[in-house]
Amino acid sequence: MRPEKLLFPTPEGLYCPAGAFHVDPVRPVDRALITHGHSDHARSGHRAVLATRQTLDIMKLRYGEDFCESEQAVDLGSELDVGGVAVSFHPAGHVLGSAQIAIEKEGMRIVVSGDYKRSADPTCTPYEPVACDVFITEATFGLPVFHHPDPRAEIGKLITSLKQFPERSHLVGAYALGKAQRVIALLRQAGYGEPIYIHGALAKLCDYYRSQGIDLGELRPATVERGNQDEFRGAVIVGPPSAFADRWARRFSDPVASFASGWMMVRQRAKQRGVELPLVISDHCDWPELTQTIREIAPEQVWVTHGREEALVRWCELQGIAARPLHLVGYEDEGD
C-alpha cells in the first residue's frame, strides 16, 4: 500500500480513510486519535476520541466532562484494530500522557510522532523509537541553531539567581500543561525545598500530575492576602507566560522575569519578550535530537508537519532520505 493512500493531510488534519479517523484534527470530526493534551492537538467537539487514559483525563480537565460523545482509552504498546487498520500508541516523552501513534495496513507502517523529545523529563514516560516506513515528525526547533542545553544546568541558573537576588520574586513563565510541572519537578530534583507559588490556571493540572504520582512538593496559590505582599520576596512563582504581561504580575515586588522555553535559545527572542532570566527548557526535540532520531529510525520517508520544515527537509535530502513538508495548519507551539 502506498503511504499517501493510508494517511494524507486534509483541512481537518491527517486523515486515514481505511480506518475513517483523523489524527489530532483541528476541527470537529467523527473519529479522532489524539497524541497529547496540548490544546492545538487536542480540541473539543469530536464525536469519538481514542487516546491514552492520561490524555483523555487532561482533555476532561480542560474542556469539561462533555468534551466528546464517546471516549476510549488505549494502553501504551497495545495494538487495536480500527476499521481494519492496526493502531498502536507509544510513548513520546513530550508531556504526561503523550504518545506517538503507529498506523499499519498491508505492510505499510506510518508513525505519527506528534510532539516528542528525547531529553530526560521526570514528569513523563520517555520516548521510544518505533520502526516504520514513514516517520511523521514535527520540526518546531528544526534549525541547526537549536541545541538545547541540559535542563538541570538551566534550573541551576534559576537557583543561582535566587541566591543573587534574594529580595526579588522570581516569576517563571511556563505553559500550563507539561512545562510548568516539569520546571517544578526539576527544581525539586535540584534540592529546592521552599514552597512554590502557582497561578490559578495551573492548579487543576498540577493536582492531576500529583494524582499520577509525580512529586511537585509544596505548592501554594499565588494570591495576595491583604498586606502580605512580602510573602513573595525571594519566592518562585510559576504561571502561564501570558499572565506576566497582565495586571496579575503587578502584585509581586521587583520581579525577575523568567521564561522556560526552547525559544529562549535566541537572545533577541528573550529580549523582545522582556525576559530577564531565560531558561532554555524545551518539551520538543532540538536539532541534534531530531536528526539523531531520524538516523536511528531510518525510515524510507520523512514527512514534516509543522515548525521549520524547510531546514529539516533540506537535511534529509543531504542524507539521501526522501522528505517532504505536509504544510499542516493550526498547530502552534503551545507546548513551548
Partner: protein, 541 residues
C-alpha cells in the same frame, strides 16, 4: 571566559540599574586577575583585541556546515556572532576540560601572526561552550552592545571597594587593562595607584539640572553664574610637546582641530566649551551649534574649513596648572589661575567664559529665560568654594536651562515597558494634526516614556487597554479620532528637521509633561506649529 560570558548573558537582559550593578560587582569580586580586568575593559570600551573579519568567520562555519542550512539559521537569528555561536558543530559534545580564560584568549589573540588567526579561532570555537563562543565572537567582531555604560562599570568598581565613584573617575584615564593595580587598591591590598603623567584625559565635572526647590535655602552669594553655551565640552591638555584635545567622553579629537592645538601656548589641563565664530575679544559673534557641526567628526580639515568655521575655546575651568594638580583648590582660586592663562593666550582662539552678575535667584531666573545671545542655552551655577570633582555630584554645579518647548499632542501608539514596567503600556508614540490628502490626520512626531508619575501611568495604561484598535506584537494602536483620544502635553529641549521621520521633524529629549484629559483631540497642536518652532530657531540664530 565562562564567567564573562555568563555576565554578558545576564547584563543584556537585565533592565534595572541596580540589577546590573549587582551582577557587575559580583563578577569583579569573584573573578581573578587578569580576567576581570579584561572583562572590565571590554565593558568600558578600553579593550584592544585583534579583530576578526565576519567573512572569515563565515568561511570557518561553512567548512563544517551546509550553506543552505546556515542561511536558514542566519535568517532566523539575525545576528552573525549569535548564529555562529549556536550552529557551531563541535567535534565532540563533551565539555572541553580546559576552558580558556579570558585574559589568556586576549593575550594569545594579540600575539598571533596574520596567518595564524584562522586556525586559532577555529580551535578556540571548538573548545568554548555556546555562550562563551558568543562572548568571544562579539569581542573580536567589535560591539558588545550590552546596555552598560563605562560609568556604570565604574560605579560597580566603587561599590566593590567602598570608594566614591569620583575617585575611580579621577584615576581612570591614567590606567590601562587589565587594571591590576586598581583592583589591588579596591581590595585594600595596596595604596591608591599614582598617575605617571598628567598628560591624559581627566574625567570631567558634571552638573545637575535645577529641579523644583533645589535653590531654596541656598544663598546666592555663595555662587557664581556663567552662561551655558551651546557647543561641545572639551578638555585641552599640554605638557612639553604633547598637546591633546579631548571630547567630554575622552575621545582624542586633536586631529580635527589643528587651529586650537597650534594656538596653545601654555602647559596644563583646561576645561571649556568648543565653539566656532569669534571670541569675545575679537568682537565677532559666536556661531550656532549647526556651524560647529561642520567641523566635527572630520578626519582631515581643509584650510577653507579652517577659514570658514574658525574654532575657539571658551574656557571655564583649570584642572592642572603646568603639572600641578589644582583640582583640590576652590572655584575662585582656579578661576584666578585660568584668567591669567587666558590673558596671555592667543585672542582669536581663547576667551574666558564671562561671569553673569546676579543678586538673587529671581534675577537669574529672568536672565536664563531671556539670554542676550542665541547660542546661550541657559546658565550654569557654580559654588564658589567647590573643588573640581569628576562625575555628577549634586550641589556644587547646577545647570539651569531655558524653558523647554511645549506642545499638545495625541497618543497614537503604546508599547509595553521593560523590567518593572513590563506589565504597563509605558512607551508612547504621539502625533499632531496635519492635512494629508485633503483631510486632517494625525502624524506621529515623537516617542516618550517618562515624565509621568506612577499614578498617571496607571491612568494611561488603563486608557490604552480600554481603547486598543490594533496590535502589532508588543505595540498597540490607540483610538485617536477628531473627537475621541488622549491628549498629553509634551515638553522637549529642541526640535530639528529630519528626513528620517515621516513627519519631517525630530525632537530632542521629549517627555510627557502633563496629561490633558480636559482637552479634546481636535484642539491638539498642528504640524505647522512645530515647523514654525524650527524656523523660529533659525531666525533667532
Amino acid at each position: 571566559m565562562k564567567a564573562f560570558a555568563t555576565l554578558l548573558d545576564r547584563l543584556v537582559l537585565t533592565p534595572s540599574r541596580n540589577g546590573k550593578l549587582k551582577l557587575l560587582t559580583d563578577y569583579f569580586r569573584d573573578t581573578p586577575d587578569p580576567d576581570r580586568g579584561y572583562g572590565l575593559a571590554a565593558i568600558a570600551g578600553t579593550l584592544e583585541v585583534r579583530s576578526v573579519k565576519p567573512a572569515m568567520l563565515r568561511e570557518l562555519v561553512l567548512e563544517r556546515m551546509d550553506e543552505v542550512l546556515f542561511r536558514y539559521s542566519y535568517d532566523y537569528v539575525g545576528d552573525l556572532a549569535e548564529t555562529i555561536s549556536l550552529v557551531w558543530d563541535r567535534e565532540s559534545d563533551a565539555e572541553h576540560p580546559l576552558q580558556p580564560r579570558l585574559g589568556a584568549v586576549i593575550r594569545e589573540m594579540n600575539g598571533l601572526g596574520r596567518t595564524e588567526v584562522r586556525a586559532y579561532v577555529r580551535g578556540l570555537l571548538d573548545r568554548l561552550d555556546t555562550s562563551s563562543r558568543f562572548a568571544f565572537l562579539k569581542l573580536v567582531t567589535g560591539g558588545l552592545r550590552i546596555g552598560v555604560s563605562a560609568r556604570l562599570a565604574k560605579q560597580a568598581l566603587a561599590d566593590l571597594g567602598g570608594k566614591d565613584v569620583t575617585e575611580i573617575e579621577t584615576l581612570w584615564h591614567g590606567l590601562a587593562p587589565p587594571y591590576e593595580p586598581l583592583f589591588a587598591w579596591l581590595e585594600g591590598r595596596t595604596d591608591r595607584p599614582v598617575l605617571a603623567t598628567p598628560a591624559i584625559f581627566h574625567s570631567v565635572m558634571l552638573s545637575t539640572p535645577v529641579g523644583n526647590g533645589d535653590l531654596d535655602g541656598l544663598d546666592p552669594a555663595d555662587f557664581a553664574a556663567e552662561w551655558k553655551w551651546d557647543g561641545i565640552r572639551v578638555q585641552l591638555t599640554g605638557f612639553g610637546r604633547e598637546r591633546r584635545l579631548y571630547s567630554r567622553s575622552g575621545d582624542d579629537i586633536s586631529g580635527t582641530f589643528p587651529d586650537i592645538i597650534d594656538a596653545m601656548n601654555f602647559e596644563g589641563v583646561l576645561d571649556g566649551e568648543l565653539l566656532v565664530g569669534g571670541t569675545a575679544r575679537s568682537n565677532n559673534p559666536t556661531r550656532t551649534f549647526g556651524d560647529l557641526q561642520q567641523r566635527l567628526n572630520r578626519k582631515t580639515v581643509s584650510s577653507r574649513m579652517l577659514d570658514d568655521y574658525p574654532a575657539f575655546i571658551r574656557a571655564y575651568d583649570l584642572l592642572f596648572s603646568g603639572d600641578r594638580d589644582v583640582r583640590g583648590e576652590t572655584y575662585v582660586e582656579r578661576r584666578d589661575r585660568l584668567t591669567a592663562i587666558i590673558d596671555s593666550s592667543p585672542h582669536e582662539r581663547f576667551d574666558l567664559s564671562p561671569l553673569v552678575p546676579f543678586s538673587n535667584w529671581t534675577d537669574l531666573d529672568a536672565l536664563r529665560k531671556a539670554p542676550p545671545d542665541p547660542v546661550i542655552e541657559g546658565v550654569m551655577i557654580k559654588r564658589l568654594d567647590s573643588t573640581y570633582q569628576a562625575g555628577r555630584a549634586k550641589g556644587p554645579w547646577f545647570k539651569w536651562k531655558r524653558d523647554p518647548y511645549n506642545i499638545d499632542a495625541v497618543l497614537m501608539y503604546a508599547q509595553r515597558g521593560h523590567g518593572k514596567r513590563s506589565s504597563y503600556y509605558s512607551d508612547f508614540t504621539f502625533g499632531v494634526w496635519t492635512e494629508l490628502d485633503g483631510k486632517d490626520q494625525l502624524v506621529p512626531v515623537g516617542k516618550a516614556y517618562f515624565g509621568f508619575t506612577d499614578a498617571e501611568l496607571e491612568q494611561l495604561d488603563r486608557f490604552v487597554r480600554n481603547n486598543t484598535t490594533d496590535r502589532f506584537g508588543p505595540v498597540r494602536a490607540i483610538r485617536a479620532t477628531h473627537d475621541f483620544g488622549f491628549v498629553v502635553e509634551v515638553a522637549f529641549e529642541g526640535i530639528n528637521r529630519s528626513t528620517r521621520h515621516k513627519s519631517g521633524v525630530a525632537m530632542r529629549f521629549p517627555r510627557i509633561a502633563r496629561l490633558r484629559e480636559d482637552k479634546p483631540p481636535y484642539e491638539a497642536d498642528r504640524l505647522e506649529t512645530l515647523m514654525a518652532m524650527i524656523d523660529g530657531d533659525a531666525a533667532e540664530a
